[in-house]
């Protein structure tokens, strides 16, 4: 009887697409920006290739599966402090809609307040509220380590759904001790870089054998923690081990540990929650708060939050040999696999011959960063 019940329940419950017929004719300006107390020059010491402060401007899009941004070019973007000092952002002509503050020494100071001003091509002026560094600055990132773990996952041998364990690692840090008990709002962001070696890059292709890869869509989430006591472990992110070619040679993540204001923290938290699968007992959806307003047309509702954060950084390297089990690199075998007729010449994928063609790249460079620590 109970098998009947379960069968019926599973059979009866269903999820199907539904269209609400939404037509939002007036897109909203999205402003993505923050500044911190680490300047470009200081960020080089992370070590990293350096980080300029950026402002990304785009318009909201109708809901659909299209994820490309509808960018907002030709805007004037300025950072202003409470002593009327102005810093102008310059649009990146290789990446329209992105504006860069090329001042290599600029960093937020704890005795100033800042606001961001954006004037769009059609002369609408958007300004943020005055923001300043949090009173509690970010402490150094003490340590970063990983732990092996298994999680359950489905697999489908012969079309039948089964469950098996999947190997992952959880990468963690220790939250700095917090002896005064004051609430701190932490946010961790990650910038991964890894080495990809093209397995068949020999002969004329040998200069293209080894690349350093970045991709902003990998490890693109962040961790948040409202901290009172400190000294506790914080899982930053998890990495799949199986069939993850990023780990085959050398893998590194630059971790930015940010101490934020409470409101910027809640903004980040709400955005994070929005991206989790929603359940029936979840809080009803709500728009993200913003500290931007349109000065000359208050009816326009911009999106985004201008943050002023305190940062510290630490780079973490990972090698698969550190694992307690062996991880095979099957790339060469896969590249040599023949999928055409036996009499035809080999036809390997481009990424087998040149690392610059690696599919998972956003950027790929043949030049090893000076600070990179290889195997």
């Amino acid at each position: 009887m109970n098998r009947v019940l379960i069968f019926l329940l599973l059979l009866a419950s269903c999820v199907e697409p539904f269209d609400f017929n939404r037509n939002n004719l007036d897109p909203q300006l999205v402003i993505e920006a923050y500044v911190s107390d680490i300047s470009y020059n200081e960020s080089l010491a992370a070590p990293s290739n350096g980080r300029y402060f950026e402002v990304k401007l785009k318009w909201t899009r109708p809901v659909s599966k299209i994820v490309d941004d509808r960018i907002t070019p030709f805007a004037d973007v300025k950072l202003i402090d409470d002593q009327n000092t102005e810093w102008t952002y310059h649009e990146n002509i290789n990446k329209w809609g992105t504006y860069i503050l090329f001042d290599q020494d600029f960093k937020a100071c704890d005795d100033r307040m800042y606001k961001l001003q954006v004037t769009t091509q059609d002369d609408f002026i958007y300004e943020s509220a005055w923001e300043k560094l949090p009173s509690l600055t970010s402490s150094p990132v003490e340590d970063i380590w990983f732990e092996e773990d298994d999680i359950k996952t489905y697999y489908y041998p012969a079309g039948e759904e089964k469950i098996r364990d999947k190997k992952i690692i959880n990468v963690s840090t220790t939250i700095p001790t917090n002896p005064d008990g004051q609430v701190r709002y932490y946010k961790w962001e990650y910038y991964p870089m890894w080495v990809y070696e093209a397995p068949l890059a020999v002969g004329a292709f040998s200069p293209f054998r080894k690349c350093w890869i970045t991709n902003s869509l990998y490890l693109n989430e962040y961790a948040l923690q409202e901290d009172v006591v400190g000294g506790t472990e914080q899982v930053l992110f998890s990495i799949d081990i199986e069939k993850n070619d990023r780990l085959y040679t050398n893998f590194s993540v630059l971790v930015y540990q940010q101490s934020t204001s409470k409101d910027y923290f809640y903004f980040s938290q709400l955005m994070q929650e929005q991206n989790k699968p929603n359940g029936i007992f979840d809080t009803p959806p709500a728009n993200l708060p913003t500290n931007f307003t349109c000065i000359n047309d208050p009816s326009k509702k911009p999106v985004g939050y201008f943050g002023v954060v305190s940062e510290t950084t630490r780079r973490w390297y990972f090698n698969k040999d550190e694992l307690s089990y062996f991880v095979e690199n099957p790339l060469r075998e896969n590249c040599l696999a023949k999928f055409n007729r036996p009499q035809d010449p080999p036809d390997p994928a481009e990424e087998c011959l040149s690392c610059l063609s690696y599919e998972k790249r956003e950027t790929a460079t043949l030049t090893e960063p000076s600070w990179w620590i290889g195997n």
């Binding site: 419950s13 489905y154 029936i280 728009n287």
Partner: protein, 898 residues
Amino acid sequence: MVNSDFPSFYRLKRLTLFLCFFLYLGPLFSQDLKSVYIDPSANGVGIKDYLSQVEKDYNVDFIFDEDKFGNFGMNGLVFRRKLLDYLHIYFDAFELKLVLIKPNVAVIIPSDLVNKFSPKNGFLALKQPIPGKINLTGEIYDIDLNEPLIGAQIVVESVNVGGITNLDGNFSINYNTNDKYNIVRTQYKGFDSYLQLVAYSEYGDDKMPRTSLYPSITKLEDVIIRAHSIDRNVSGKLTGIENLGIESIKSLPTFMGEVDLINGLTTLPGVSTVGELASGFNVRGGNLGQNLIRQDGAIIYNPSHLFGFYSAFNPDIVDDVTLIKGGGNARFGSRVSSIMDVTLRNGETRNYHINGGLGMVSSRISVEGPLIKNKSSFILGGRISYADWALDITKDVQLTQSSADFGDVTAKLFQMIDENNFISLSGYASFDSFSLASDSLFSWGNRSLALKWGHNFNSNTDSQLTLAVSKYNSELHNKDGIEGFIYKNGITSTNLIYNVESKISENKQINYGLEANYSKINPGESRNTVELSNVLEFDIDDHKSLETALFAQYSWDITTNFAVSAGLRYSQFYRFGKGLVYEYDYNLTNSQFPEKRDSVNYGANELIEFQHGLEPRVSLRYKLNNSTSLKASYYRTYQYIHLISNTTSSSPLDYWLSGGPNLDPQIGDQFSLGVFKNFQEDKYELSAEGYYKDVKNTIDYIEGAEVKLSESIEGNLIQGNGIAYGVEFLARKNTGQLNGWLSYTYSRSLLRFNSAYDILTVNDGDLYPSQYDQPHNLSVVLNYTASKILSISANFSYATGRPITVPISKFSYGGYPTVNSYSQRNEFRVPGYHRLDLSVTLKGEHPEKRFQGEWVLSIFNVYGRNNVFAVSFDEFGRASKVSIVGNMFPSLSYNFKF
């Protein structure tokens, strides 16, 4: 000649004297109607005129309702014949029957009414010494034991008065009526109810003969619509009162065989539910927390089991359910939307019985019987689910990591102390737990105990004293090894209600009393289960409050047709410390939540807040005729404690908060106007009732508010105005092989939060629909009794889709390729809801057997409509509707009684 003529003259004179003597004595001696003849000379004479003449000539009485037939001429008489024979034929043409109650008293009634009454003692004629005033006296006996039945109920239907028998089985009821006859129902638990037609005649008896009741043959309840006076929708003075007998609720098709009280209520006009199988119910656009749910006087704070699939009430123990859709009698208050009053039945005082049922996810059993025969009884019932281990045997990852359990126990003791006193003690306990593919376990439970003392001061005045304790707790146990915690909230309340009802005269009644409710609310506490957890521990101070009320309601039948019922309730609310109360700064420009500006720490039992209000109510009823009335009413109600729930569906973690410096009382003002019409001896009912409701200080939430696990909850709440209006239609067929009802409601439920502070303003301060705004709501319920063993029920329901906030655009931000931008609050709607359910009940064929069983086959969602239970949005903002029962869902259950 003279002499010869003398004898003749003498004989004539003697004859004349003899005739004169009899003419004189005539009125003193009535004639048997069977010996009255009619001849062709009556052809053409109006029937009423003729009967009136016969009444005069023969000292007989024909009792009939003047409106039932016209004064049509008689015809067809070709020879002299017995009057009764002719009248039987004559009235057949008008679907009327003449029944001879006494040799000289006959009643003429609609044909379909005759079979309701036993030929023996089913028709009675009583004297009416003062026109319009009746004193109905009699005695009720157990026919087997030849012993009086104590506490048997006698109800005079259509007049809507009643009484109960004393220790000797006697009763006496005084009432006013202009009816020519009334129907009297006598009922007693464990016995067949008995209907009698009581006609009023100068030739009637002084009192009713002894009425003997037969013990019920053990059987499951017949499908009937209502046990109360069936015309009270017309004759009652108050508006907005819905009543459903448990038999009606049981007749509705079920989901997985579980009879659901709340599901039954939602078939009535003005009552809706937020989603498919969602727990709780919404009355006239109000939210769940604006309903007060009482079971035998004790408050039930969470009326749901198993994700809201089932209500928390055991159908085998429940007697009936009354829903007051706003205000009602002044003795009711505390909630601005409705009062749901669940009455548990007393156990049988004569025999022991066991009821039970086997369903697909749960089973139930109850036992009842006398403690002292005919004086005291007990009833004890429980339900238990077995869904939990069923989930374990599946291979689905989510289901194997899930659990779901529920159960409840209900008990009641009843003791008749003497003819003027009885007490009852009701107890209830329930538990629920579930975890859905996660390491968090939700659990909650109700406990309640209610002691009731009923006392009759005299035949016109009685009182009820109820002392009840209720407790509700819910818990979230996060078993995470790093951030594990246990979060709890709950409420404990003790309430005392004393109500005195007195009949001042035949047309004036009053009830008055007091109510006190002491509540201790635990809004929330969180304790870590691991050391050095980053989760903030907190323990919000308990909210201690005392709510008291004095009330009085006066009902006056000013004329036969015009009646008024007016009441006043003065409620007071005290909140005591200890407690930390924050003062908030809402004047912020860059934050979505208010800042704590200051705080006040109140000591133990220190008065934090006093709130109070006068709650007037007035209802007017004007009867256009015996079957039609107009009613109008106004109610004001204050609500001092508030349910906090910011989830799409009702959650077990919803919790209560006391009013205080940051939370003003909700004040509901409701106006209603209705017309009520019955047809064919109350066989059919038709009503239309419109209402307008304004709720001040209704609660909603700051955008994005997380109202769980927060110490400064009140800072996330906003108070504004709620407006609801609508018109409710009900058409009902009360009796017959095919019966049921159709209810349709057009209504709106709107909110407005307009503040000088941005963060307290929703949708730019404009009116917007609440989550419960469903303009069109239709229910059709049909029951067909095909035979004694087979009955079929159908239930169709339709409701406009509920409002929802949806993503209207998207953008990328940081590492997230898509972040949604949402519409204004509740700007869109989910698709409309409709569903057809059917059930077939097959009963045992031998009612004389002690063991009785029935199979109930229910088909839920017959045409497999994918109704929306929830709407989810993916990272691209695309919507998916989730249906819990997206296909036809058959279920089989077995009920038994012995």
